[in-house]
């Protein structure tokens, strides 16, 4: 699925709405403040496109809410904001270190053939990569299900692509306007 123009339009509108909220607050503040405003409003706009259906969008909104509660509340229409922010993320943190330690102890007792060892190493590698993916995707730590993780990644990638496309076109247009 590629980013559609309707998605991009929606994202742009929401992003503009978010920036409008910021405009009266920020007049001559530093670049970093402005960058933060831009990025946060873009993130919330991107996440709100999914209307809370996906895990990553909820996690992203919660993350930005920790940084700027006011913005999130304003950007999302009233009811949704309350539900999204009050909904605590599932505390299904499996204690990976403990699990890993116990597995190591078990593995020491078994003696393996060469092919088994190779397969085990391959599996370990895949597990490490999935853990890396969980770190990158927002809210990934709560997705113990592999299928869910891949679904969320797909959706997240598409949304990121729309975000990047819109931002890049705006930046280029602005730059071209300045250079005129």
């Amino acid at each position: 699925m590629q980013p559609t123009s309707s998605m991009k339009e929606e994202f742009l509108k929401k992003w503009q709405m978010g920036l409008q909220i910021y405009r009266p607050l920020i007049d001559n503040t530093s670049v970093s403040e402005r960058r933060k405003a831009i990025k946060l409003s873009a993130d919330v706009a991107m996440a709100s496109l999914r209307r809370g259906t996906t895990c990553w969008s909820r996690a992203l909104i919660q993350k930005t809410a920790t940084e700027d509660n006011f913005l999130v509340r304003q950007m999302l229409s009233g009811i949704k904001a309350e539900t999204l922010m009050n909904k605590k993320l599932p505390k299904v943190m499996c204690h990976r270190k403990i699990v890993r330690r116990s597995k190591k102890i078990l593995m020491r007792r078994k003696s393996k053939s060469v092919s088994e060892e190779i397969a085990a190493k391959a599996r370990k590698l895949v597990k490490r990569k999935t853990q890396g993916l969980r770190n990158v995707v927002p809210g990934g730590e709560f997705m113990n299900n592999d299928v869910l993780l891949i679904q969320e990644t797909l959706d997240y990638i598409v949304s990121l692509q729309t975000q990047v496309n819109v931002m890049r076109s705006i930046v280029d247009a602005a730059e071209a306007g300045i250079e005129r």
């Binding site: 391959a122 602005a174 071209a176």
Partner: protein, 332 residues
């Protein structure tokens, strides 16, 4: 109408509610009941069919074969494969036509029940975690042949009552909605491995989608490599967002996202100056992210060049076409 009975894929896992020995008892009781009920009818042929259908176990099979009389020619040709010792009986009976006198409502219902039993038995085999896939294939064939002969019989009768009943039976069987996985030849057939295999197939399907989405993933084989590419891609996209927001903050002190009219030349110039700056990570990533025109007015509807064709070898051409499309997008 009878399609619901044909493939074992429609086997619901409702039989899982009963434990295995319970189910065996239930089935045997059923068989006995039906045998008794039909002994009153004047159809010895049907009796034989029932005995044959009801018994998937080897002992019962051998006992019924001794006095088995073929009713339908369709049976014979198929069952010859499985049961070699009954050749003579079969051959002698092939000449028999399948036009047997069968009482409409009872028999169809009974046949349905037997097909259910058959399926239950084959399910029980699955649960037993025996790797008797040949048996499974046999049961699959049996069920198919059943369906053929039943359909033949029902066609000949052509009564609305029976068709209604069969459709009712089929719908009842199909009520439950489970994920149906067929065990292939030579694979374990217990519940856990079936579920695992279904899960693994789901994951591989989704990984294929991801491979299509992420550029440059087709060359890499194996889950680890694909996951690596995905992670890199997501990270680079996130970095791009940050970079672009920083740039916009620098350019745009008023945080105004209004877009003005531009001429193509300036636009292209701006684009080319951007090019060395904007590359955050790999250049391939930048090139391959497609830029679609925002079709707001639809006035300049330039076709976007196929992003998959853009390569690092000829970046200038691709940038030109992409910048033209951007120009179209920016016009309002």
């Amino acid at each position: 109408m009878l399609e619901g009975l044909v493939s074992p894929e429609n086997l619901s896992l409702s039989y899982a509610d009963m434990s295995v020995p319970e189910r065996l008892k239930w089935l045997q009781q059923h068989q006995q009941q039906e045998v008794l009920s039909l002994s009153s009818n004047d159809s010895p042929d049907l009796l034989q069919i029932l005995q044959f259908h009801g018994s998937n176990n080897d002992e019962l099979l051998q006992s019924t074969f001794s006095h088995f009389q073929m009713v339908g020619s369709g049976f014979g040709t198929n069952y010859n494969m499985g049961f070699g010792h009954s050749h003579e009986a079969m051959d002698g009976c092939i000449s028999r036509t399948s036009s047997c006198q069968i009482h409409p409502p009872d028999t169809m219902g009974v046949m349905l029940k037997n097909s259910e039993e058959n399926r239950a038995i084959s399910l029980k085999n699955k649960r037993k975690s025996e790797v008797k896939t040949r048996e499974e294939e046999k049961t699959e064939k049996k069920i198919k042949v059943e369906a053929e002969t039943e359909s033949n019989i029902s066609n000949k009768e052509a009564s609305s009552d029976t068709s209604k009943e069969t459709s009712k039976g089929a719908s009842q069987i199909q009520k439950l909605d489970y994920i149906h996985v067929r065990a292939r030849r030579g694979e374990a057939t217990d519940r856990h491995s079936l579920a695992e295999r279904a899960r693994r197939e789901k994951i591989s399907k989704k990984m294929k989608y991801l491979q299509d989405l992420v550029p440059g993933c087709n060359t890499v084989t194996g889950k680890a490599g694909v996951l690596d590419e995905i992670i890199n891609y997501v990270q680079s996209l996130q970095r791009q967002v940050e970079f672009l927001s920083m740039k916009l903050a620098v350019i745009n002190p008023e945080l105004e996202l209004g877009v003005e009219d531009l001429s193509v030349k300036q636009f292209q110039a701006a684009y080319f100056t951007n090019f060395p700056v904007v590359i955050a990570s790999k250049p391939s990533v930048m090139v391959d992210v497609p830029l679609f025109p925002l079709d707001q007015q639809g006035s300049l509807n330039l076709s976007v060049s196929n992003p998959n064709q853009t390569s690092i070898d000829a970046p200038s051409e691709s940038w030109e076409t992409q910048s033209q499309s951007l120009f179209a997008s920016v016009l309002r």
